[in-house]
C-alpha cells in the first residue's frame, strides 16, 4: 500500500528583545542560574504581567513577513497545566484570538521546484524555566532529583504553526531552513537551534495515497537541528508505514527523537488528554494594534530571502542553486553583495563566496580577516589574467589569515601569472622548436596534443604563465 505522509511543523522562536515578555528582567542567554529573575517571572504571589511592546512589534513583523493577517483584536489566554519549570503553573499564551492569522511561506526544493506552505497562525507566549536532571545519567529516565533555573522563564516566545502541507522530510527541512532565514533577516531572534532560540516540533500522519481524510497524527519532539528533523521524519514515516502495513493502529501520542539511537520513542504519557482550561488572561487588556503602528512595522520589513534570491537570479544573473546557498547564509550574502558593490562580476563573486570562501569561513567559524575588497580583488585579478585560479586560492588563504591585500599576497608568494604575449610568445616559439614531432602530430590532425605543449610552456614559465594565453599563442603559431 502506498502512503502519503502529511507533515506539519510547530516552531517556537525566542525573541531577542532586551527584556522578557512580561517583566523587565534582561533577556540574555547563558547567564549563571537564577541571576535573571524577579518576583514576576518567578511567579511570586501578588505579581502581575505587563506585555513587552517590542515583543508585540516583532511578532507583528514576523506575521507580516509571512503574509499573515494582523488581528484587529486579540487576547492573551491562560494555558493551565502543572510542571516544575512553570512558575505560575499556567503559561500566558494565546488561544482562539491570536495576533497573526493565516499566511504562507514559499519554499524551494533542491530540484528547483517551488511549493507554498500555509501558515495557520503565529501567536505570542512565554518560555518556561529549565530543568536539569540529577542523580543518574543526567537523562530524565533515571534521575532521582531535578534542579531548576528560571532565567529563561518569561522570555518572549513566538509560536508559528504551519498547515499540514508538507509531504516529505525534504520539504519539512526546506520549510525550516526558509523560516529560519526569514526570521534571521528580520533581526527578531538569534534563531540558533543549538541554543534553543529556534525549536521545532513536527506532527506526522500517513494516509493512503490519494485519500482525503487525515490519518492519526503523532507529535515528534527533541529535534535539535534541521538535519535531525529530516532524519526523525524519515524514521517516523517508516515506522508508521511498517505499523500500518502490519494492520496495527497508529497510537496518537508524543514521541521523543533520540539522536544517538536514530529513532523515535514513545514518551510514557499518562492516559489523560491535556485539559488546559483556557480562559482569557484577566490581568492583561486586549491588544488592538493601531493600523498606523502596523504600517510602520510593515515599512521596516527588510528584503526577505525569497525576494533576495529572485533579485540575485533576475538582476545579477546567478543560478538559482547558487542564489539559494548564498541567501541561506547572511554573512555570505553580505560579503557577496559588498564585493559586487566594489565592481566584482556577480557570477564569479558568487562562485568564490560559496566555494573557497565558504570553506575558509566554515573552518574558522567567522570571516577571519577577509573583507569584501579581498573578494572583489580576486575576481578582478583573475578576469584580468593576472593570476590563475589556483594562485588566487592561495592568495585568498593568506588574506583570510592576515588581511593582506590580495595583490600583495600574489606578489609576495610569486603567484603572478604572466599574460604578456611578448614574453610568452618567445617561450611558445622555443617550445615549438624543441618539439617538432609533436608539432607534426598536431598539424596531422591530433589537436589534443596541444595540452602537452601548453604543459611544456608552463614548465618553462615555472608555472607562472596564463594557460589560456599560452594555448592561444601556441595555436596561433601551429595554425599559422
Amino acid at each position: 500500500m502506498a502512503y502519503e505522509a502529511v507533515i506539519g511543523l510547530e516552531c517556537h522562536v525566542e525573541l531577542s528583545t532586551a527584556t522578557k515578555m512580561f517583566c523587565a528582567c534582561a533577556n540574555v542567554f547563558g547567564a549563571p542560574p537564577n541571576t535573571q529573575t524577579c518576583p514576576v517571572c518567578l511567579g511570586h504571589p501578588g505579581t502581575l504581567p505587563v506585555p513587552n511592546r517590542e515583543a508585540i512589534a516583532r511578532i507583528i513583523k514576523i506575521g507580516l513577513a509571512l503574509d499573515s493577517a494582523i488581528a484587529p483584536h486579540s487576547l492573551f489566554h491562560r494555558k493551565n497545566y502543572f510542571y516544575p519549570d512553570m512558575p505560575k503553573n499556567y503559561q500566558i499564551s494565546q488561544y482562539d484570538l491570536p495576533i497573526c492569522v493565516g499566511g504562507h511561506l514559499d519554499i524551494e526544493l533542491a530540484d528547483g521546484s517551488a511549493k507554498r506552505v500555509g501558515i495557520t497562525r503565529v501567536h505570542m507566549e512565554e518560555d518556561t524555566g529549565k530543568s536539569t536532571h540529577g542523580g543518574g545519567s543526567g537523562r530524565i529516565h533515571d534521575a532521582t532529583y531535578a534542579t531548576l533555573d528560571f532565567n529563561r522563564a518569561g522570555v518572549p516566545l513566538v509560536e508559528c504553526v504551519s498547515e499540514p502541507d508538507m509531504r516529505t522530510p525534504e520539504e519539512a527541512a526546506a520549510y525550516l531552513r526558509e523560516l529560519r532565514a526569514t526570521l534571521e533577516s528580520l533581526d527578531v531572534s538569534d534563531v540558533k537551534m543549538e541554543e534553543g532560540s529556534l525549536r521545532c516540533d513536527a506532527n506526522v500522519s500517513l494516509r493512503p495515497a490519494g485519500a482525503e481524510t487525515l490519518g492519526t497524527k503523532v507529535e515528534i519532539k527533541n529535534m535539535n537541528s534541521i538535519r535531525s528533523l529530516e532524519r526523525a521524519l524519515a524514521f517516523e514515516i517508516e515506522r508508521q508505514t511498517k505499523t500500518l502495513d502490519a494492520d496495527d493502529p497508529i497510537v496518537q501520542e508524543t514521541r521523543h527523537w533520540d539522536e544517538d539511537a536514530g529513532s523515535t520513542a514513545s514518551m510514557r504519557s499518562k492516559e489523560e488528554a491535556f485539559d488546559y482550561r483556557y480562559f482569557p488572561e484577566p490581568d492583561i487588556p486586549a491588544m488592538e494594534p493601531d493600523p498606523a503602528w502596523v504600517d510602520e512595522v510593515r515599512a521596516s520589513l527588510p528584503e526577505l530571502p525569497r525576494a533576495r534570491r529572485d533579485r540575485y537570479v533576475d538582476t545579477l544573473g546567478l543560478k538559482p542553486e547558487v542564489a539559494r546557498v548564498l541567501v541561506a547564509d547572511r554573512g555570505a550574502s553580505a560579503l557577496f553583495e559588498d564585493a559586487v558593490a566594489l565592481d566584482a562580476e556577480p557570477v564569479a563573486a558568487a562562485n568564490w563566496v560559496t566555494q573557497d570562501v565558504a570553506a575558509l569561513r566554515n573552518a574558522a567559524g567567522d570571516n577571519g580577516a577577509l573583507t569584501p575588497q579581498h573578494v572583489a580583488d580576486v575576481v578582478t585579478l583573475i578576469s584580468a589574467g593576472a593570476v590563475s585560479n589556483a594562485g588566487a586560492k592561495q592568495a585568498l588563504d593568506a588574506s583570510f589569515a592576515s588581511g593582506e591585500p590580495v595583490e600583495a599576497a600574489i606578489d609576495r608568494l610569486g603567484l603572478r601569472q604572466v599574460s604578456d604575449t611578448g614574453a610568452l610568445g618567445a617561450l611558445a616559439d622555443e617550445v615549438l622548436a624543441e618539439n617538432p614531432d609533436v608539432v607534426q602530430k598536431f598539424r596531422d590532425g591530433k589537436e589534443g596534443v596541444i595540452g602537452f605543449l601548453v604543459g611544456q610552456l608552463m614548465q618553462k614559465a615555472a608555472g607562472a604563465a596564463n594557460p589560456k594565453v599560452a594555448q592561444e599563442l601556441l595555436r596561433e603559431r601551429l595554425q599559422g
Binding site: 504571589p45 505587563v50 506585555p51 483556557y278
Partner: protein, 493 residues
C-alpha cells in the same frame, strides 16, 4: 475623659502631629498599648511589626520636627490584611501554604502609604486567600468581633475591620472581591470602601479573583477614607489593569451635602433573608438622607439575583488558576518526606497546605473551566456580568447614588454558618453586584440593632465617581452622628 490617641481619627491625629501636640512615637505607643490590651481576645493580627513600626515612628518624628511638608498619612498607624506583600515581612494570606513566606517586594498600595509616612503596626488575619465572609476560614484562628467576642467580624478582611473597630490601628487596608471589605466593615461598625476596579494598583495584592479583586480601606470616618484613597489611587505601570486616569481631589467637596442628589433604593434589598433589625436601621438612614434634601426613588437591578451565581463561577475559576502557583517548588510550604516525583510532591503539598474552603473553590473553578463546561459556566457567567453592568448603567441614568443594606444580617455567632457553604455565600448578596460591575461602593454604620450589633448601609456610585460617593456618605455620616465605639474598648488602655 480624654480619648486615647489610638481612638482619634486620622484627620485629628494629623492635626495634632502637625501642631506638635503629639509625636508619631506617642501615637504608635497608644496603638501598641491598645493591641496589648485587647488582641488576646480579638485576634486581629497574624504578624505584629512592633520593631519596624517604632523605628519608622522615630524617623518620622525627626522629619516632622523640621517643619517639612506633612502628608495627611504621616504617622498614622496602619494595618495591612495579610494578602498584601511586605518586603522582608512574612505574608501568609491566612494560609498554611505560605506560613513562612517572606516576600522580596512591597505591594504598590502599601508602598504608597509607607512613602507618605504611614506606620505599619502589623499584618492582619483574614479568611484563607481572601475566601470567606466570616474570617473563620483562616488557617490560624478566627477573629472575634470587638462588639461581641463570640461573634464573627465578617470576612474575608475580618482582621483589618476588627483592628480598626478596636482601635488597634487607625486605618487598615483590606481587599474586596465580593464584599470582603464592605461586609466586615458593616459587621464591625466602621467605614469600608471599595473603590472603582483598577483605581488602586493590584500589584502585590496576592490574587484571589483577578477581575474582581479590589484594594479597599477601613477607617472610622468617611473623611479618613477619602484621605486614604487620595494617596492610594493612581496608575501603576506594574499593573496592566490599573486605570490611567487623573485622580481628582477626594477631600475637597466632601461637605457639599446631598440637596437634590437622586438616591435610588435597590428593590429586593429588603426582601426575604434580611434581618428586621437591619431593615429598620437602613430605612431610617435613608429617611435621614431624605431629610437632608436627597430625592429618594426606587430602582431595580434586574440581574442582581443572578449575580451571586455568576460570582460563584467567575471567582473560583480565576482563583483555581491564580492558586496553581502554590506547589512547593519556589516558595512556601512543601509537604515533608519522600515523594515519588515532583508532581506527587505538588499533590501532597497542596492537599496539606490548603484549607477546606480554598479547596472547595479551586475544585469548583477547575470544574467550571474544564473541557466541555467553559461555555455553560464561565462563559455564561461573564455574559451575566455584562447584563449586571448594563443594569447599573441604566440605574445611574436615573440616579446618582444607589442605596441598600450592606449585609442581610448583623454579626452571627462563630461556628453558626461554618458548615453550610451556601448559607455563608448569601452574606455577600448585596455586595457582589458592585464587584461584577467594577463600580465603587462604601459601607458606613447606620446604627446598632437591638442586640447592640452594628448595622451597615451601602452606597454605590458610577465608575470613577468616588467624589459623589464620598459626598453622600459624609453627609449621611454627619447626619447620623453615631460615634460608635465597641464596649470592649471603653475603658481599655
Amino acid at each position: 475623659m480624654s480619648e486615647a490617641l489610638c481612638d482619634l481619627t486620622g484627620a485629628e491625629l494629623s492635626a495634632r502631629l502637625g501642631a506638635g501636640e503629639a509625636s508619631a512615637s506617642e501615637v504608635l505607643a497608644s496603638s501598641h498599648a491598645r493591641i496589648d490590651a485587647v488582641e488576646d481576645r480579638v485576634g486581629a493580627f497574624l504578624t505584629r511589626t512592633d520593631q519596624l513600626a517604632s523605628e519608622r515612628a522615630e524617623e518620622l518624628d525627626v522629619y516632622l520636627s523640621t517643619g517639612a511638608p506633612q502628608s495627611p498619612v504621616a504617622g498614622i498607624p496602619v494595618a495591612l490584611k495579610d494578602v498584601f506583600t511586605t518586603n522582608g515581612v512574612r505574608t501568609t494570606c491566612g494560609s498554611r501554604i505560605l506560613e513562612t513566606y517572606v516576600p522580596p517586594y512591597d505591594a504598590t498600595a502599601w508602598a504608597r502609604l509607607a512613602g507618605a509616612g504611614a506606620v505599619l503596626v502589623g499584618k492582619t488575619n483574614c479568611d484563607e486567600f481572601a475566601m470567606g465572609s466570616s474570617n473563620e476560614n483562616s488557617a490560624y484562628a478566627p477573629v472575634h468581633n470587638p462588639w461581641a467576642l463570640d461573634r464573627v467580624p465578617g470576612g474575608s478582611s475580618g482582621g483589618s475591620a476588627a483592628a480598626v473597630a478596636a482601635g488597634e490601628a487607625v486605618w487598615a487596608l483590606g481587599t474586596d472581591t465580593g464584599g470582603s471589605v464592605r461586609q466586615p466593615a458593616s459587621l464591625c461598625g466602621v467605614v469600608g470602601l471599595k473603590p472603582t476596579y483598577g483605581r488602586i494598583s493590584r500589584y502585590g495584592l496576592i490574587a484571589f479573583a483577578s477581575s474582581l479583586d479590589t484594594v479597599g480601606t477601613f477607617t472610622r470616618t468617611v473623611r479618613d477614607a477619602a484621605s486614604m484613597l487620595q494617596v492610594l489611587a493612581g496608575h501603576d505601570p506594574r499593573d496592566a489593569t490599573s486605570l490611567d486616569v487623573a485622580v481628582p481631589s477626594y477631600t475637597d467637596g466632601l461637605d457639599g451635602g446631598v440637596a437634590g442628589l437622586r438616591v435610588g433604593v435597590v428593590t429586593d434589598a429588603f426582601g426575604e433573608g434580611v434581618a428586621p433589625g437591619v431593615a429598620t436601621s437602613v430605612r431610617a438612614a435613608i429617611d435621614r438622607l431624605a431629610g437632608r434634601g436627597a430625592e429618594i426613588g426606587e430602582v431595580a437591578l434586574p440581574h442582581a439575583g443572578y449575580a451571586l451565581s455568576a460570582y460563584y463561577l467567575i471567582a473560583p475559576s480565576e482563583c483555581s488558576s491564580n492558586l496553581a502557583r502554590y506547589d512547593g517548588v519556589r516558595y512556601g510550604y512543601r509537604a515533608p518526606g519522600e515523594h515519588a516525583d515532583s508532581i506527587e510532591m505538588m499533590f501532597a503539598t497542596r492537599g496539606q497546605g490548603f484549607g477546606p474552603e480554598v479547596k472547595r473553590r479551586i475544585m469548583l473553578g477547575t470544574y467550571a473551566l474544564s473541557a466541555g463546561y467553559y461555555e455553560a459556566y464561565y462563559g455564561q457567567a461573564q455574559k451575566v456580568r455584562t447584563l449586571v453592568i448594563r443594569d447599573y448603567e441604566a440605574a445611574f441614568e436615573r440616579f446618582d447614588i444607589l442605596v441598600s443594606p450592606t449585609s442581610p444580617t448583623t454579626a452571627f455567632r462563630i461556628g453558626e454558618k461554618a458548615d453550610d457553604p451556601m448559607a455563608m455565600y448569601l452574606n455577600d448578596i448585596f455586595t457582589i453586584p458592585a464587584n461584577l460591575a467594577g463600580v465603587p461602593a462604601i459601607s458606613i454604620p447606620s446604627g446598632l440593632d437591638d442586640d447592640g450589633l452594628p448595622v451597615g448601609v451601602q452606597l454605590t456610585a458610577p465608575a470613577l465617581d468616588e467624589p459623589t460617593l464620598f459626598r453622600a456618605a459624609h453627609a449621611l455620616e454627619s447626619e447620623l452622628a453615631l460615634a460608635l465605639r465597641p464596649p470592649l474598648v471603653l475603658g481599655a488602655g
